[in-house]
Symmetry: D2
Subunit: 338 residues, 4 copies
């Protein structure tokens, strides 16, 4: 099979995993360049994965004639400029979620995609998780009739750093963490019309200093009147726990597990198992499959299964939920335009 | 041990179980009389459980000098009159949930209790379920630190009859079904300050004809700012499923199971177990323990662990949720006064 | 419905539960007499459950003209004499497992049943457990094709007292504990032709002083060549754990659970639930259903679903396993005649 | 880090996975040559994984001066010759289980290792599974006290081909399939002194034509008197199921799961999940970790954690079990010398 020569921008924690996948786990990609504003890190990761070229300036990578496609895993606030540049350079582009911190920026990305006609794929890895993919397939096969209620829970086992949590860099919990659930909501149920939300700082008082919350709950009313609820917490101390229920007119599908190794410790009046430490243990395979899918789509000229519009709309719901939480009022998602 | 001579009003489906428990499962009660406006049914149940006296008129049972205490399991709209009469007759009284269909009626019951000083115990059987009781104990022992988020889900495997679902007789899904979850919320977390809610008819269109909903979701903000969410559905087709999560500052407690017999059927690429058919299979023991507790409280002169005020307040939250759902607005629970 | 007037012999720990069931949980029995060689205990239990008559001498109970049927829960070494006496008195009789400590005694009981033609039902309560009953039904419906391998595990959470464990009174672990599994084996698979076994004292050295073992494993070859394995342990410290697998030609059925309450405690890297404390928590319902079945069989003139021959044959396998374990040799079950 | 230049012999189904791991998943190996008697296949796999050299003759690979270490995944009957040749060539060698089809051959391999002093590591991948590794660690930490009973179950979801099942090529079910469990037994509990076994053809009559069995059960008595039981089946139709219980003097550890994706399908009175399809889905990570460990051991001059002696002894137990099953007699493991 032909291989896609990929350039990777951003090689922090998650970027390193992408580097590993693109260089060795995916049969039809070749990682030919990495870029990071931390040039030493770029050089180090290039050495680790036998990547021919490394850059301190992402723009250089985008210009690199040997780079057929660009994968962007840099900090969220850089997404807009990098995506727009890559699309203008006619390089098929993949960008990690969330698309941007503001809807305005995300819409600029969408415009660039439209104007350039360049391939763009949004990164929502849960759609590639074998569990969620199987659930989607089963729903489409009619195994639960028509899904009418969507319920999603995301629990982190510890809070982010204050620097990270700062809504100025993360967008706040609804955008940073909830966007995955809002994307799932749209994937399974379609567009969201209205949200209500509550939230508070209940476990980590320090989060209040940067204006983030550690526990939030949002109810969703879909465009066709169906219902949903998303709850997020940073104090899932026991482990990383992502679970989703779809209630249908003939059955229910539940996706979720919280067990890492197949070991039960059975002692006096107790049977215990361990938990999933964090998102990489839960979604490692999804990340790989997502990049594999991106490469195949580009190589075979397929349409992107997750579009910039998906990114824009999930972000719009997240911004609406943030506003609903701030004001205590129900918010029409369509009213969110920036 | 001394035995409490109990009179039972209402011997429909649930009342019959109460009759069985009071006559044979509880060491310190003796069922001496049953009453039902369906006098034949009263006679029949009396015969089945060797109950000495049966009445068509509940008032007769209340007056019966041989009846030391009254247990009321009649339709909700009759609760107010029967409870007030029993309390005025100075008979210690137990009344099945919900206290009444309107807050005004419930408050009349609370007044009667206050004025007569007669013992009254509200029926919220989940508090006596070994699972919920153990969870409560573990929370009090500090096993999860301070609980900060309360999540409860109740799923019925099928819808009620239209006659039953009619909000005029059931109060609607928030009152009929949700009151259990609102009571649990208060039991674990204290008073609720505000609610938001969404709801719709999504699985059983016929429910719209009587004005009820089949799926609703309410978010709760407790008086001290902690958070909660309750979701209810009538289309839990797979089985009866009641589950509750308490997220604390050091751990989480989950109560809930959906498996009836300990049998796994393992066939080609599938491992399956059965489910809990309905509430009696799930809470049979809780009902018995609740009546046992009532009898002990009366015999030993203890205070009621579940009061009419608990009934009033859970109902107030349910009414607030109904109103929030009707209006799409956040509702202050304290604003509900009738 | 007509009620069966039952006399109960033996009111120790298990007998007391039988007294409760016969007096109050089973609609069609009336407990009219109890007997125990500890006459005070008999009197006490009679008082507790409003039983009209109590005896110190079991023979008196058997003679009692008001006693229509006899239920025997006395120590195993007394079974033979009591059962024979009851059968000769033409009283339909139920006897708790094991039938006797020696095969010779058990066969005397079988002879008495044959000669008197009196109804006799053997007590193997697992057959009445909703889980095992459902498994049996599903096997008969062909859900797993033809079952070809039987696997059973029984774990006690603590060892018996030395007095109890003494093979002179209990028969040893294969007879005392294993007989349930051997009966299940026969119920699901038919007669056992050969056994091999190993066993040792591994956790409770004191058991060696009375000649019992705390861990044993027996392999079974059924008469038609199908296979089985039974393992028993006294050191199931975590809780009482009974589980059975049936491997068929199209699927597998597993019966077994080890969880008591529906509570999960989720703390740092651990999700834990409790366990089933002991046999009564696991099989309470099975005991009740078993007595209910006995009463119905007698009242309706049905055949006993569990016969003295079932008791004899399960005991024969247990004795064969004991001998195989003692000698290290494979033992033909048919070679066991005393 | 320095990289180990590895040559891989055998690129059938499992060998291909080894090729992928050695070429891309393991940071410190470089796959420099592959050999297979099917030379075209060798060439094809070399192309797929960018391997510089491919050979039709394994001897050529062993001689290849650029090959620092040899990994052997060829059919079992070729192991002896290849291992001996590789060891004589002073190439550190890894060989997939079982070591050989006869004990005599395995002992020749052991002799070659002794005489040449070359590093050799036996492939028993379960020891590298995160689940089994965690269980081992917890046992060593004393979490269950002293383990006294070992129970292992292995279930294949379908039978092998007749060609494969033929004991002349596979060694029969105890050797082919059971050797993993016998190795686990020795790893957790030490040497096995005696075995008893039963077995039969119960689900796949065609297996009788080649002299294999589809269901077997072996009891183990360890050298110090502790006990074990291993049961194997080819008719685990529902899925691949490997589970192990260790009963200790203070608790029990269970390793095993049968669920592949985190999806529950909940329909009328049923909750179902999928199963693990086959061994690669269950042990993929263990295979990778095992090769990673081999490479590290060679590079850092560490001793092999799994030795040819482990292979010899596990095989000895498997042969003993086969003999016990054939004869119906208890077999002393030490009596097996060829």
């Amino acid at each position: 099979m032909m291989r896609l020569n990929v350039g990777l921008i951003g090689v922090g924690r998650l970027g390193r995993v992408y580097a590993r996948d693109l260089s060795s786990r995916i049969a039809h990609t070749r990682l030919v360049a990495v870029a990071d504003t931390n040039e030493n890190l770029a050089r180090e990761v290039a050495a680790e994965f036998d990547v021919p070229r490394s850059y301190g300036a992402p723009a250089k990578l985008i210009e690199d004639a040997g780079v057929d496609a660009v994968v962007i895993v840099s900090p969220t606030h850089t997404h807009r400029d990098l995506v727009v540049a890559a699309l203008k350079a006619k390089k098929p582009t993949f960008c990690e979620k969330p698309p941007a911190l503001s809807l305005a920026e995300a819409m600029e990305m969408a415009n660039a995609e439209k104007q350039t006609g360049t391939f763009f794929q949004m990164g929502f890895m849960r759609r590639f998780d074998p569990g969620y993919a199987s659930a989607k397939r089963q729903v489409e096969e009619g195994r639960i009739g028509r899904p009418v209620v969507f319920k999603a829970t995301s629990r982190d086992p510890f809070p982010p750093s204050l620097a990270y949590a700062d809504p100025k860099s993360s967008g706040g919990i609804f955008i940073d963490m909830g966007i995955h659930d809002f994307d799932l909501a749209r994937w399974f149920m379609g567009d969201v019309a209205r949200v209500q939300a509550v939230g508070a700082v209940l476990a980590f008082p320090e989060l209040a200093t940067v204006g983030d919350r550690d526990n939030v709950i949002a109810t969703l009313t879909f465009a066709d009147g169906r219902l949903g609820v998303v709850d997020l917490t940073r104090n899932g101390f026991y482990g990383y726990d992502i679970s989703t229920d779809l209630l249908g007119t003939e059955g229910t599908i539940r996706v979720g597990y919280i067990r890492e190794t197949p070991v039960l410790l059975m002692t006096k009046n107790s049977v215990a198992h361990d938990t999933v430490p964090y998102f990489m243990e839960r979604f490692e395979r999804a990340y790989t499959l997502q990049l594999e899918n991106f490469a195949e789509n580009v190589l075979k000229g397929r349409k992107a299964p997750v579009t910039i519009q998906d990114g824009v709309e999930a972000l719009r719901v997240a911004v609406a939920a943030t506003r609903a939480c701030d004001t205590g009022q129900r918010v029409e998602v369509s009213s969110i335009v920036t």
